[in-house]
């Protein structure tokens, strides 16, 4: 391979405002400038997004891996790089490198029930996985697909356009929950780990994938283990500060594992054998 640090040029094709409550989350549709340079990623992988003069930061892909002309990324305005990204306009040039990291074990998961538990922006890195499994060519490879999607309030859900469609399908079960009651809210109220017991989960044959705030991941995975799902069948994806994304710069390691190359996707079995430093 060539120099692993050199990004290639791309353009912003579309920008979507994600939530109504919080204007700080936007989804960017990105098209490589050169048609030969595509991001052929698998669900769970990430890329490095460069804004020359400001810096570079890692983000998970958030679109279907079957979209070949573009990909999407959902970004919350949080730091130096994301602030500048949020000020970009359609047509602006950006620089990207990847795909990086490992991916969800989509083949291993075939033939099983799938439970997705996502909180807030934690749905973003799981969206490629959901769209991958719902792809007509793949849907029959998985049994029941259930989703427990949580947000602080009804206005905090990202991908409402997807959620409506997933809810309409008769081959998926979608449950939405918010932290506190709201007038007119038809979904559930409460933290996701408290609602898992109400779901129809075949613990003998289910892969669970969860992502959200660290505290949510901790409680949800704890509850899933308590319910009897083996740790080897519970997956999450981690984030870390990274510079290189290729296992050299020394920032994202948890013990001897590097989140950028050994992750970002880890099973609870792997995580329980690693130091708790994330």
């Amino acid at each position: 391979m060539g120099n692993a640090y050199i990004p290639f040029k791309a353009r912003i094709a579309l920008i979507l405002q994600e939530t109504s409550s919080d204007v700080d989350i936007k989804t960017f549709r990105i098209k490589p400038a050169d048609k030969d340079k595509r991001m052929d990623f698998m669900p769970g992988q990430f890329f490095e997004f460069s804004v020359p003069g400001v810096g570079e930061a890692p983000f998970g892909f958030a679109s279907s891996p079957y979209e070949k002309d573009f990909f999407e990324v959902s970004i919350k305005k949080t730091g130096l790089v994301t602030e500048v990204i949020h000020n970009l306009k359609p047509g602006d040039t950006v620089w990207i490198r990847g795909p990086l990291g490992n991916s969800f074990p989509v083949e291993k998961m075939e033939g099983s029930n799938i439970l997705v538990v996502a909180g807030g922006l934690g749905l973003a890195p799981l969206r490629p996985l959901i769209l991958y499994m719902l792809e007509p060519a793949n849907r029959s490879k998985y049994k029941n697909i259930s989703m427990l999607l949580a947000a602080r309030s009804s206005g905090d859900f990202i991908y409402m356009r997807d959620i409506s469609e997933w809810s309409r399908r008769d081959d998926t079960e979608v449950i939405l929950t918010i932290d506190r009651p709201e007038e007119g809210w038809k979904g559930k109220v409460g933290f996701p780990h408290n609602l898992l017991g109400e779901m129809q989960i075949d613990i003998s044959d289910t892969y669970a994938i969860t992502c959200g705030p660290p505290i949510m991941i901790k409680f949800v995975s704890g509850k899933l283990v308590e319910m009897g799902i083996p740790k080897s069948k519970i997956y999450t994806t981690l984030e870390m500060r990274m510079t290189c994304g290729v296992g050299k710069c020394g920032k994202c390691n948890i013990g001897h594992k590097y989140v950028c190359v050994d992750g970002p996707v880890f099973s609870m079995e792997e995580l329980s054998g690693m130091p708790q430093e994330y």
């Binding site: 620089w95 020394g250 001897h256 690693m274 430093e277 994330y278």
Partner: protein, 348 residues
């Protein structure tokens, strides 16, 4: 491997021939500090051969390690303009001969090259520089205060992790021995022998046996699993004195953590790679404010376990060669050898 015997009186001119055509990086003492200085032989004013010969003979370890010749403290990685991003070509005009590198540092460069060369991705910027560098190694006669290479399984008298290793004479009547371990080293030795500075010998490296190989001590390693030491050792107490200044990481011959920094230059942006340090709180600080290594306890633990456990697990080597620089330089008297002994349950 070849071995050429170089008589004492021809030693200086033989070293001069080794560095001929190279920019020589030679440890030179200035204001009491021994540091590698890059010197262009074409300047012709300095007695480069003399300085290089002195450096080989000198029994001191330079303050900083020679890692910067492979992995510079600051390097231009790429240049962005409006329309392109171009990798900065490494300056290959300069072929550098690094003179008088001690076995601890030669072994450390091996670790550094392995980290950048192996794994899923290869860093050509670092590994590519090796081709333009001639490493001229030499042994240490005495252990310096703080040195513990003997506990790290490194023979202070000899190392083959270089192009040419120069073994000093044991007594006044003896000759120098120049060993070559690479194709580049073989070529130089051929020129040396053809030029009449020495003659080939079938002499095998003494491996320092003449003075004892120096590594008869039990090897200092961490056998325990990482998760075990992570929580059981008293990291809070161990790191209490640490000031978090990071000098240990800058002068360490194996530390290799880095950061990217962008700087505007006219219409262009240059992305630099700069050394970074796991001793600093911002090293792992997320944009969200979360920091997995929030206090010096976590940061010091990272430094020790990265060197002794993580690199070994990933690349097969302990990333500490016992050069003792961090011990000698620490303003607070931290001592990685004693820490490793303490957490391994060895009496300090």
């Amino acid at each position: 491997m070849k071995c050429a015997v170089v008589p004492r009186e021809k030693f200086k001119s033989a070293v001069g021939l080794l560095i001929d055509g190279y920019v020589a990086a030679i440890p030179v003492k200035e204001n009491g500090v021994l540091e590698y200085k890059k010197m262009d032989g074409k300047a012709g004013e300095k007695d480069l051969a003399g300085l290089a010969a002195y450096a080989v003979d000198c029994d001191e370890l330079p303050y900083k390690s020679p890692k910067e010749f492979l992995f510079p403290q600051v390097e231009e990685l790429m240049v962005f303009d409006n329309d392109s991003c171009t990798a900065v070509e490494k300056d290959t005009r300069d072929k550098i001969a690094v003179v008088g590198v001690k076995p601890c540092d030669l072994n450390a460069l091996k670790v550094l090259l392995t980290v950048f060369f192996q794994g899923k991705y290869k860093d050509d910027n670092v590994t590519g520089r090796r081709e333009n560098i001639m490493l001229i190694g030499t042994g240490c006669a005495k252990k310096k205060p703080g040195c513990f290479c003997d506990e790290r399984g490194i023979n202070k008298n000899f190392s083959s992790e270089c192009d040419i290793f120069i073994e000093k004479p044991v007594d006044e009547n003896d000759s120098f021995r120049f060993y070559s371990f690479t194709v580049g080293g073989d070529d130089v030795l051929d020129r040396l022998v053809t030029g009449g500075f020495g003659s080939y010998s079938d002499y095998e490296p003494a491996c320092g046996q003449r003075e004892g190989n120096g590594c008869e001590k039990e090897e200092l390693v961490i056998e325990a699993e990482e998760t075990e030491l992570f929580d059981t050792a008293d990291w809070e107490g161990i790191s209490e004195r640490c000031l978090g200044c990071g000098i240990c990481t800058y002068i360490c011959p194996t530390c290799h953590c880095f950061d990217f920094r962008d700087a505007l230059a006219g219409n262009k942006t240059i992305r630099y790679r700069c050394w970074d340090s796991c001793m600093y709180p911002k090293f792992t600080l997320h944009a969200s404010g979360h920091n997995p290594r929030a206090s010096k306890k976590e940061r010091f633990r990272q430094r020790v376990l990265h060197k002794y456990v993580y690199v070994k697990k990933n690349f097969g080597y302990v990333a500490c060669t016992g050069c003792g620089r961090c011990i000698r330089s620490c303003p607070a008297g931290m001592n990685i050898r004693n820490v490793v002994r303490e957490i391994s349950g060895i009496r300090v």
